[in-house]
Symmetry: C2
Subunit: 272 residues, 2 copies
């Protein structure tokens, strides 16, 4: 059935057609696809590389000919035979009757260029329009007991730090995308999982999650700012750094027997 | 210039045309728009209500005729005059030469029905494909000092709780969308901010953020599970509830003078 990784044959393997030699490198452009989400004058075209087509034909998606044709907005001729022949010419095998492996979602129709563009726009909208400050103040106003404030503040600092630890891993994702094939820096098992997630969403997933987590961090920072302003006597001064990143919090556990160790914890850089 | 809220004239205001009476209620369908992101057989059509058109013409977006025509995929005739006339017939004024108020992004081209569908698909992809457990374990493996574990655990519980407080507000968003106009439950000022965010993203923003925050909560829960498994002696048993929601954490502040109050804090339901 050929659900395995679609392979690229070496150059000049089927060299009768003049086109072949020019498009057998993974970074070569296979075709340009008009953006599905562009409006009027801003009708961008996204370049789709041979490597991208190969990714869509390989697991986890294993697109079949008709879905790939839809993604690439190829004119359907002879039930996808024309596309299969074009793919075959550049050494990508797409057997007839092959089954797709992943569920089709609205993200399936996006080429990587547009998926990345959409994630960037999502980040832009979150950064410029999401009411992080108002949300933070709204939540904070439900906790007005001054004796509770130092605990609340430590909880927010903890939320910032734990979230940041997860964000930092996402930042190190080096999934190949478009015509880039960056050097991995994460452990192979972790990178493999992030690559899978990227392949399913064609590059949208991780940057979109990162944008959402950055929005959450903004809300955390606004919560801290509010506490400093509303309870100046309960909160140590200058406790958030100017760029909005709080220093790692040091937090006592409920298990008081471990307290002695905690004092020596070098992560606690907080000004108390 | 008419950047104010586009108004719907009362029924029968310009009743010469038979069409008019049938489409002057906000819940009436103005047109059906083919999905931009649907593939092949799944070519959904999204119904656009008069209320939705009104929202797109009003602040914050204030679409002009050509952009609205692009969004509705209306055939451009006479530079948008045909669309303006159709709008005028249902009582929506769209003066020529009006300027849009918001930046165009890829989200601008989505009608509300497709924006909601896209957010739902994003949630589905995150839930089924994001490697929350692997990410959680990867981060946890960087903190292996057993004396540190009780503190780490409390930090994760705090992250869960603070994030949940923010999620709970987003859940209460009651922005009108499609043909629904739900009863607000949040304070008007807070609801207004969330409505603005929804209007800018046509319903994508808040559910997409909620999906991302739910994904983050999954990772937090996986971090707790890992700690319980890897450090059974440092973590109280049964500390996470079966549905993955940890009970609110009780966290001592660095300010030990407030300790006495904390013991009486009724939010602390944790089994220590």
């Amino acid at each position: 059935m050929g659900l395995g990784k679609a392979s690229i044959r070496p150059k000049n393997d089927n060299g009768k057609d003049g086109l072949v030699d020019t498009v057998t490198s993974p970074n070569d452009v296979f075709c340009s696809v008009p953006g599905r989400l562009s409006l009027l004058s801003s009708t961008s075209k996204y370049k789709v590389t041979v490597a991208e087509v190969q990714r869509r034909l390989s697991p986890p998606e294993c697109l079949n000919a008709s879905l790939l044709g839809g993604v690439l907005r190829a004119k359907s001729k002879n039930g996808g035979r024309y596309l299969r022949e074009r793919l075959d010419k550049i050494g990508l095998n797409l057997p007839a009757g092959r089954r797709k492996a992943a569920n089709v979602t609205l993200f399936t129709s996006l080429v990587e260029g547009e998926a990345i563009h959409l994630a960037r726009d999502f980040g832009y909208v979150c950064e410029t329009e999401f009411p992080a400050r108002q949300l933070a103040e709204y939540v904070n106003r439900q906790h007005t007991d001054p004796t509770e404030i130092p605990t609340r503040r430590n909880m927010i600092l903890a939320a910032k730090q734990i979230t940041k630890e997860l964000q930092d891993v996402l930042c190190q994702d080096r999934t190949p995308i478009g015509n880039s094939r960056p050097q991995p820096i994460l452990e192979p098992a972790m990178q493999r999982c992030l690559t899978h997630f990227s392949l399913i969403s064609h590059g949208f997933g991780t940057p979109a999650l990162s944008a959402a987590f950055a929005t959450l961090q903004n809300a955390f920072t606004e919560m801290l700012k509010y506490l400093e302003k509303a309870f100046p006597n309960s909160v140590p001064p200058h406790s958030t750094t100017p760029n909005g990143n709080a220093p790692p919090s040091k937090m006592d556990s409920n298990n008081t027997s471990t307290k002695g160790d905690k004092v020596e914890d070098t992560r606690g850089k907080e000004v108390v």
